[in-house]
């Protein structure tokens, strides 16, 4: 487990029923996916896996993920009527179900988002009690809960890059809670996921983005999940 739970994960969250795994956690995955994408996508394909595949409708998980993508929190009473809100916003979605993805956690969801030329695919796990982990972004594995600020850095794969990232963050008086690196052999890219104890300054982010070899940085602020 990447990180220790809060006591308010044990007594909490305050949420809309019926299920913390199927409603609360799912809305959270939707919200994190939206913020990773940088806003509301135009089109989304959502795949419910394993345990979720047969039960997502009855639990209202379909409403919850759409509500999350529209930035609703777990205690938002509009979750119940999320489809109607999506319609108002002209937001298109499609659901799929795969019941036998044995490599994935029992409660996994893939969110494939699209808007103009932008595309992103995120896999989230609802761990129970409304807790979540994001376990994959665009094919790169990761493992973070999005309960603290987070940077997802796509860079050229070189050793110096990780050292550079840690040095810059250290200068910031910012602590790294966790850091993970996944490499893709083919493209020679690395994804570095850094969970931070406190927010990072916009200027520092700008600087890091401008450095050669760094292709992209997604910054996820503390979403107050």
């Amino acid at each position: 487990m990447a990180e220790r739970s809060s006591i308010f994960d044990m007594i909490g969250p305050i949420m809309i029923g019926p299920s913390s795994s199927h409603t609360g956690g799912v809305a959270r995955i939707g919200r994190v996916a939206r913020h990773l994408f940088g806003g509301l996508p135009e089109k989304v394909i959502i795949t419910f896996y394993n345990s979720f595949s047969r039960t997502y409708e009855g639990h209202g998980s379909d409403r919850a993920i759409i509500a999350g993508l529209m930035d609703m929190k777990t205690d938002d009473e509009r979750i119940k009527t999320a489809f109607e809100h999506a319609k108002e916003q002209g937001f298109h979605y499609e659901f799929k179900a795969v019941f036998n993805a044995s490599s994935l956690h029992p409660n996994s969801i893939k969110v494939q988002m699209e808007k103009d030329d932008l595309k992103m695919s995120v896999i989230g796990v609802s761990r129970g009690g409304g807790l979540i982990s994001i376990v994959e972004i665009d094919g790169f594995s990761c493992n973070f809960s999005a309960q603290s600020p987070c940077m997802i850095i796509t860079s050229e794969d070189s050793h110096g890059r990780a050292a550079f990232i840690t040095t810059v963050i250290a200068q910031e008086d910012c602590n790294i809670a966790t850091m993970s690196i996944t490499r893709s052999g083919k493209k020679g890219t690395a994804k570095v996921v850094v969970e931070l104890d406190s927010p990072i300054r916009p200027l520092t982010l700008e600087y890091m983005r401008s450095v050669r070899g760094i292709k992209n940085i997604i910054y996820l602020p503390d979403l107050g999940l």
Binding site: F8, I11, F99, G128
Partner: protein, 301 residues
């Protein structure tokens, strides 16, 4: 360094060494892990307790019929029942746990403690306890801290998710949280709290997760009531100074082992147990959209 809630032993050792009350390290943990202030922690506890009380009230006063129709104002029926099988307080406990859980099944606002499937247990136990013993709210909030510590350990050593550990992980954990809170609020010591947890988990061990049509309604709602009863029974035994014999950490590990070897059909998949009875299958046809897609496993998952 505060307690990390990896084991009950660690919690006990810390409290004995530092001569602090059982709930204090839970506050310390939250401050260390989440940077919250103590004031903020008490505020959030009070807010959660307020939502729990509201849920009990809502379940006893508003129409509680779920979309599927399987939940139909059970709490109100119990509250109005003229036959008391044990007494007023017992009936109160059953009605209160049902009430909060029915709110959850009807897409209302609840506190997941530890999960929404078990969200009737803590509200039912705590509100009943406070009313019967006329306890100050502060005492109840302390009890909630004890409950949270218990759940943290169960989460680390076993699981709190029905899909991972079966229903013992949800209603079992909630019952253990409730039992610990009862013992603490009624003046029991740390060992008695831990014994109550061990006894409760022993009683809930092996409970499968088998929700009809995959909805968190049947058997979930009634299980919340019986889990509340088990919490009080275990607390009564522990407060009397009787022992579970098996140390609580070992009991939790057994719970983890049982959860790990439980078949998937008993883990929220609605494929086994009560969910697989002929009547449940009939209900399923009516309440679920029968459009189950089957896609081959994607290799690149």
């Amino acid at each position: 360094m505060s307690v990390l809630f990896d084991s009950f032993d660690e919690w006990r050792t810390y409290c004995e060494y530092h001569k602090v009350d059982i709930w204090q390290p839970v506050v310390g943990y939250e401050i260390d892990q989440r940077g919250r202030s103590e004031g903020e922690i008490w505020d959030k506890l009070a807010q959660s307790y307020a939502v729990m009380k509201d849920a009990v009230h809502t379940g006893l006063s508003e129409d509680m019929q779920s979309i599927s129709g399987m939940i139909n104002n059970g709490a109100k029926k119990v509250a109005a029942c003229e036959i008391n099988v044990l007494g007023e307080n017992f009936k109160k406990l059953v009605a209160y746990t049902l009430a909060a859980k029915e709110v959850n099944s009807c897409m209302g606002r609840v506190v997941a403690a530890p999960t929404a499937g078990a969200s009737g247990i803590m509200p039912g136990v705590l509100t009943t306890l406070q009313e019967i013993h006329d306890l100050p709210r502060q005492k109840i909030l302390e009890g909630m801290l004890v409950s949270a510590g218990i759940a943290l350990i169960i989460e680390r050593r076993a699981s709190i998710a029905g899909a991972v550990g079966g229903c013992q992980a949800e209603t079992g954990t909630a019952a253990a949280m409730g039992a610990g809170a009862i013992v603490h609020c009624l003046g029991g010591n740390l060992d008695q709290v831990f014994e109550a947890v061990a006894i409760t988990i022993m009683n809930m061990l092996g409970l499968i997760c088998d929700p009809v049509a995959g909805l968190v309604e049947v058997p979930c709602v009634k299980r919340n009531a019986s889990a509340g009863v088990i919490a009080f029974a275990s607390a009564q035994i522990a407060l009397a100074g009787d022992s579970a014999v098996i140390p609580v950490d070992e009991v939790i590990d057994a719970m983890g082992e049982v959860g790990a070897s439980m078949e998937d059909k008993y883990k929220e998949t609605a494929l086994g147990g009560i969910a697989n009875t002929p009547t449940a299958r009939e209900i399923e046809k009516n309440v679920l959209v029968q459009q189950v897609e089957s896609i081959e496993e994607e290799n690149e998952a």
